[in-house]
Symmetry: C2
Subunit: 247 residues, 2 copies
């Protein structure tokens, strides 16, 4: 992996994910989105709405990866503590930001802007705002940490807004080879040999199961088109050979 | 929270989740399952198929929670390194386990048990096996770490097999109150007051969005039935009052 690869982590914040009440839809979406951009997602964590857990995870992850994306906890209710936790993690102050208030006023009247709603305009000192075209309450980017909503439609719009300004590597490309009908145990040894010949690629085997039985796919991933093409040809030849029972 | 609450973390192992190729279905399932059992899921991490990442996460999480459940990386291919990483994390040896070989032989002939397939019988020293009724290759439990397959149907069967032997707390119970039609910003302040009156409960507000607009639910969770009933009544009264515009 190149030294200059752009990396990321995702931090999902919310009791409702850990209780199983809400099934997360953001991890898979962000993973696929960052891969498409050329940013390598390296780690995901889910933590509860507890200050020390959020602060600890923000500091661990922002130190380790180029970017940290958080989802959840930026609404108006008492359990929305993400912005305050991020300010604490960075050791900066946080207050109602007039730019964020202007954004809220695009959707509501000034007399409806009560104290709870003003919580959504609390932004850590030094952060850039990330626009929210749906409900207006913004996300923000502080240093390498991008703070987004938990509601998937809003999170997705925020990601679109922040993406153009991010550093990117060359996107990872991949080839998927169907190995349906071949058990993993039959091709594991020759596949390991192929993987050894292409140390710059990541080669994996992914079974899926239905009551009708298993089916497998082999995926090769990397940034070197020609190595990828060669590896894919090697894997295809191996699969064909095993299918013919010639191995 | 009681001192003797039984807690857990989940560690999802696999490049394919971080690339977005595979959308995880295990986190939400395990979260709901553990909640039903009376085990509090406190943290989730997703890491790639990289030894030092897996070993580091296993040691961080097993030290912190009553149980650690891992998913993924126990198949026969070269990228399946979970069992070896767990052995390394515990500092114990790992070898082909005759009990696991017997399980594999329930599904395949001895002459088909090649070196790759025998990888699935590599079990760290001292582990109990967790049966896999679908494809037979077992998971295992070493200390407080439960190692399961990544394929959802197999993971679910393993969870069923391991559940009876786990320590449990009294299950968390919850009440969900529909706040459709009321914006969060309108009830945030009175809800925070209610939350303050019930420090033993966790009370959250969860918006969801469709093109038709937002709808919200308020959820109270805890182990004290009478506190929960009172809090639910308070929340219902607040919602009714706000709906009548009497606030």
């Amino acid at each position: 992996m190149a030294e200059d690869t752009i990396t990321a982590a995702v931090l999902v914040i919310g009791d409702e994910i850990l209780s199983g009440r809400t099934k997360d839809k953001n991890i898979g979406y962000i993973a696929e989105y960052l891969t498409g951009l050329g940013i390598d997602l390296r780690e995901v964590r889910v933590v509860p709405d507890v200050e020390e857990e959020i602060v600890g995870a923000v500091n661990a992850l922002r130190a380790r990866y180029t970017y940290l994306f958080t989802t959840g906890g930026i609404g108006p209710t008492h359990d929305d503590i993400t912005a305050d936790c991020v300010a604490k993690a960075f050791g900066v102050s946080i207050d109602v930001d007039p730019r964020a208030v202007e954004m809220l006023l695009q959707r509501m009247k000034r007399e409806d802007l009560n104290e709870a709603r003003l919580r959504m305009a609390r932004i850590p000192d030094g952060a850039e705002l990330v626009e929210n075209p749906i409900s207006r309450a913004p996300g923000f980017k502080l240093g390498n940490v991008i703070v987004m909503a938990g509601v998937p439609a809003i999170m997705q719009a925020m990601l679109d807004n922040v993406a153009p300004g991010l550093a990117k590597s060359e996107p990872v490309i991949s080839e998927t080879l169907d190995a349906a009908g071949l058990p993993e145990g039959l091709y594991a040894a020759p596949l390991a040999e192929i993987a050894k010949r292409y140390p710059g690629l990541s080669i994996g085997s992914y079974p899926s199961y239905s009551p009708a039985g298993f089916t497998n796919q082999i995926v090769a991933r990397g940034r070197d088109r020609s190595a990828l093409d060669q590896a894919a040809a090697d894997i295809r030849a191996m699969v064909d050979r095993l299918r013919l029972g010639e191995s």
